[in-house]
């Protein structure tokens, strides 16, 4: 049932990367519990615009939990209090009348703040570019059913492939580690026969890029798994670590000649 509640917001405002930033307190009154969290912020922003003030900058796009653009840290938890729910799908029925709500950007060296709650997550793209793919130029594939895949492996690969790249894992980790994100892609491709030829070079290249971007290491807190809106499990990190260790034994410099 729809109710209306009043909440007190403490929102991080920061002009740009160089600005030290600060919290701004504001009230959101008469908020419908049917609203999503971002719709509540829309209403607050409309009020700011009418007052001639700059609205709060937030990354968001699909608003249906799949694009991964939104990633607010709400009361200290990435994406807020509801498990397996992105910020855009969090609804105000998860809050009570009179609640204090603190809203912050993800805080990690590898994700510098651009403005207010918007951060730069391009490090994730560079990690994928370093090896998060199967090298198969357009047109070179064989028939789709030529390579059967054990159903269980296909399902596990799909579990890992559901990662939306939002960065909640980084936000939740005390070390700001990106291991869950990287492991999800390493696992997705390592579980499929198509991913085997590049399996170990992939794990090695992606981990190297992750380190170069300044993410911390994994110390088995498990916070990432708890925060992940898509339920990506720690098991993926174990699989990546196995592949990474194996990769460091298997690694050989490339032998010049190739096929030419």
């Amino acid at each position: 049932m729809e109710k209306h509640i009043n909440v007190k917001l403490h929102v991080w405002r920061q002009k740009n990367a160089a600005d030290p930033g600060r919290f701004q307190d504001m009230e959101a009154n008469g908020v419908s519990t049917e609203m999503s969290f971002l719709e509540m912020l829309d209403v607050v922003n409309e009020g700011l615009i009418h007052k001639g003030e700059e609205p709060i900058v937030v990354d968001h796009d699909c608003r249906e939990g799949i694009c991964g653009a939104c990633n607010l840290v709400i009361n200290g938890r990435p994406h807020g209090p509801k498990e397996r729910t992105t910020t855009c799908q969090l609804h105000m029925r998860s809050f009570k009348d009179g609640d204090d709500i603190t809203i912050e950007p993800v805080r990690a060296d590898a994700f510098p703040v651009i403005k207010d709650l918007m951060v730069d997550r391009s490090a994730f793209d560079r990690i994928i570019a370093a090896g998060g793919f199967i090298s198969i130029p357009t047109g070179s594939a064989c028939d789709a059913n030529a390579l059967p895949v054990r159903k269980q492996n296909a399902d596990l690969a799909m579990d890992a492939a559901q990662c939306i790249g939002c960065g909640a894992c980084v936000a939740a980790c005390p070390n700001a580690s990106a291991m869950l994100f990287v492991a999800a892609k390493v696992s997705h491709l390592a579980l499929l026969p198509q991913g085997q030829p590049e399996r170990y070079t992939r794990a090695r290249s992606m981990v190297q890029q992750m380190d170069a971007e300044g993410f911390g290491n994994c110390t088995n807190h498990g916070e990432c798994e708890a925060a992940c809106p898509k339920g990506i499990t720690l098991e993926n990190i174990a699989r990546m670590n196995r592949d990474y260790i194996k990769a460091s034994f298997l690694y050989r410099e490339e032998t010049g000649g190739g096929g030419s």
Partner: protein, 638 residues
């Protein structure tokens, strides 16, 4: 302006092969000398950027999001069609072609649709090769399901996240090329102008959404894969950022805009709850495979769904369309839902909803199977509505979901501006007046992986390498100035209405007067209200801040200004198309039992609109459609 389709001749099954053979190729060592700009990084954009870079071209790709992985293709749920006939149920390239032409209510171009059906098979192969984790059976082979408007199982899927997995496949291929230095990627960049020199597209102007910098980028060819314009209705299943600016600017620079009135209203979305609503969420059409749609038989029956006995329920799709039942095409299912709600039989607080009920399917298949097939969709529904669909039937209502209209393109996917190409939902070509389920992903990837990379070489061979303009060309400078002054003009108004309020006002006009049902009177009313809204926008919009850093209000205001102008063209197109076809339902043209009544004698054509300047009436051009392989007939799903 002439709308020349450049379709090949001869037997339809051989056309694409012959066309590709006859086309001139670019010498491999020359490819790197050609610079191609791709705007958009969804299925079409990412696929094309990766494929063209693999071929050796110098590719520059732009998106407004913070990463190419976030393009809204990612939200497609249900699946992608391919005529593999893996299930031995009678599918074939010709049947997929036939179903798509018929599903589009005979308003698509045969040659394009046949090509689409042909390459559908290569798409599945490519995606599986990339590691897209499609659903599989226990034997390890690919699973399929049936989808609206088809009687065969030809839809490949990855749970309820097929679009996500296909997009990530394309994104990973794109990132591979970025890592190799073959693609330069520009994220958080919005295209604001096309640079046209002597009638030929030579580049674009973008705004860096972080620094506010307005900048020219020049190229030998420009490709738009910027998606659809369904946010013209304000409430839609699109991402908030989806906009028409790129194709609208192209239209204003001389690209014909085809069939803008063809919009798809998807039957299964979560209903609106209040004025704060910012978007609508789709529930995959695949749910209609097992869910049964119904409303109470009697008007105003407010009992809980479980308390309404079988005989007092109206499973109206099964009743009206016994052979397709709940799988009737989208336009038909949407109109039927509107009809029962208009009769006062809608459910939920607002009365704008119908039930989608899994009780029978759960009895038949067991809870486990339902969870496996639809679990994530059920979870999503519960997250948004706070209701558990395993216990209470879902409530759904139609919402703006896809636009079949878009920039007019020929068989090469080239617009009426030479050198400017358009792919995916942004063009008009393959779906006619209604798109069948699981066909959008197919078209986006067909255009991006296979069609454009082939056809663009036919254009580039006509250009001498190294003759590109530079960014100090007067045309580039003029386009930059146009973009800059437009942003400054918006910032200078300082009125009292926010861009969102004006957008909502536009949406209301469009949904009421140019939505699921349209009449001459409603469209004429809209054509009076929209120019007034446009004036209101330019006199009263309020955008705080400056253009020199992140300014999301400025971004939105620019998009809304374009949506208002597009809305006017949509209504004009809907007014001029005096027939009903697919998603375009003119209430004056219907059969006695309420089905769309086409007028093939007068409207078996594509309408391509030519811009003639601000405030001037655009000119309507025609491309006549010939149906040589599929017999023009009244669609029947009964």
């Amino acid at each position: 302006m002439e709308l020349k389709s450049n379709c090949p001749t001869g037997p339809i099954a051989d056309q694409w092969d012959k066309y590709r053979f006859d086309m001139k190729l670019v010498n491999p060592t020359n490819k790197r000398k050609y610079k191609i700009i791709i705007v958009g990084s969804g299925l079409a954009g990412a696929a094309a950027a990766a494929s063209l870079a693999e071929l050796g071209y110098d590719v520059h790709c732009f998106c407004y999001q913070d990463s190419p992985r976030r393009a809204h293709s990612i939200a497609a749920q249900g699946g992608i069609n391919a005529s593999k006939n893996y299930h031995n149920d009678g599918d074939s390239t010709f049947r997929l072609f036939y179903d798509t032409v018929k599903g589009g209510d005979f308003r698509a171009r045969e040659a394009n649709v046949y090509r689409l059906a042909q390459v559908s098979m290569n798409i599945i192969d490519q995606c599986v090769g990339q590691g897209v984790p499609f659903a599989r059976e226990y034997g390890g082979l690919l699973d399929n399901r049936s989808f609206g408007g088809a009687q065969v199982s030809r839809t490949f899927y990855a749970r309820g996240q097929t679009g996500q997995q296909l997009l990530l496949g394309a994104y990973q291929s794109l990132e591979r090329q970025i890592g190799l230095g073959a693609v330069k990627m520009y994220t958080r960049h919005e295209m604001q102008e096309v640079i046209v020199v002597d009638g030929v597209a030579k580049g674009i102007v973008t705004r860096d959404m972080v620094t506010g910098k307005i900048e020219s980028h020049v190229a030998d060819a420009v490709v738009l894969g910027t998606g659809g314009y369904g946010n013209v209705f304000y409430l839609a299943t699109y991402a908030k950022g989806c906009n028409t600016t790129a194709i609208w600017r192209a239209y204003q620079k001389g690209a014909a805009f085809a069939n803008p009135c063809y919009t798809q209203i998807h039957p299964t979305c979560i209903p609106v709850t209040g004025d704060h609503q910012s978007k609508l969420t789709l529930m995959s059409e695949s749910l209609r495979n097992d869910g049964r749609i119904w409303v109470p038989l009697n008007k105003g029956d407010k009992r809980a769904p479980g308390d309404i006995p079988e005989k007092e329920r109206d499973y109206y799709l099964e009743r009206k369309y016994p052979s397709y039942g709940n799988l009737a095409p989208r336009d038909i299912a949407s109109r039927a839902a509107k009809q029962v709600c208009d009769e006062g039989r809608g459910v939920g607080d607002t009365g704008l909803g119908v039930y989608l009920d899994f009780t029978d399917a759960t009895k038949r298949l067991g809870l486990g199977k339902i969870q496996e097939k639809y679990g994530n969709l059920f979870e999503m529904y519960e997250r948004i509505t706070g209701e558990d669909p395993y216990k209470v039937p879902m409530r759904i209502y139609p919402a703006s979901h896809y636009t079949m209209g878009g920039l007019w393109v020929d068989y090469n996917l080239m617009t009426t501006i030479p050198g400017l190409f358009c792919m995916g939902e942004a063009n008009f070509s393959d779906h006619g007046a209604n798109r069948l389920g699981a066909s959008a992903l197919m078209q986006g990837l067909a255009d991006g992986y296979f069609v454009l990379p082939a056809t663009i070489s036919g254009y580039l061979v006509g250009i001498k390498p190294g003759t590109r303009i530079t960014t100090d060309h007067p045309a580039a400078k003029a386009a930059e100035e146009a973009a800059r002054s437009r942003n400054n003009r918006i910032l200078a108004v300082n009125g009292s209405e926010t861009p969102t309020e004006l957008h909502r006002a536009l949406g209301k006009i469009m949904w009421e007067h140019c939505g699921m049902g349209r009449t001459e009177a409603s469209l004429k009313k809209a054509l009076q209200e929209i120019p007034a809204l446009k004036q209101r926008f330019w006199e009263n919009v309020k955008v705080p801040g400056s253009g020199a850093d992140v300014n999301q209000s400025l971004e939105l205001a620019g998009r809304v200004a374009d949506f208002i102008e597009l809305g006017e063209l949509m209504c004009l197109d809907a007014l001029e198309r005096r027939e009903s076809c697919g998603g375009h339902f003119r209430e004056e043209w219907q059969t006695p039992d309420g089905e769309a009544l086409r007028d093939d004698e007068n409207f078996c054509h594509v309408a391509g609109w030519e811009y003639t300047g601000d405030g001037n009436a655009p000119i309507r051009h025609k491309e006549e459609l010939q149906f040589e392989n599929v017999h023009l007939a009244t669609r029947s799903y009964k």
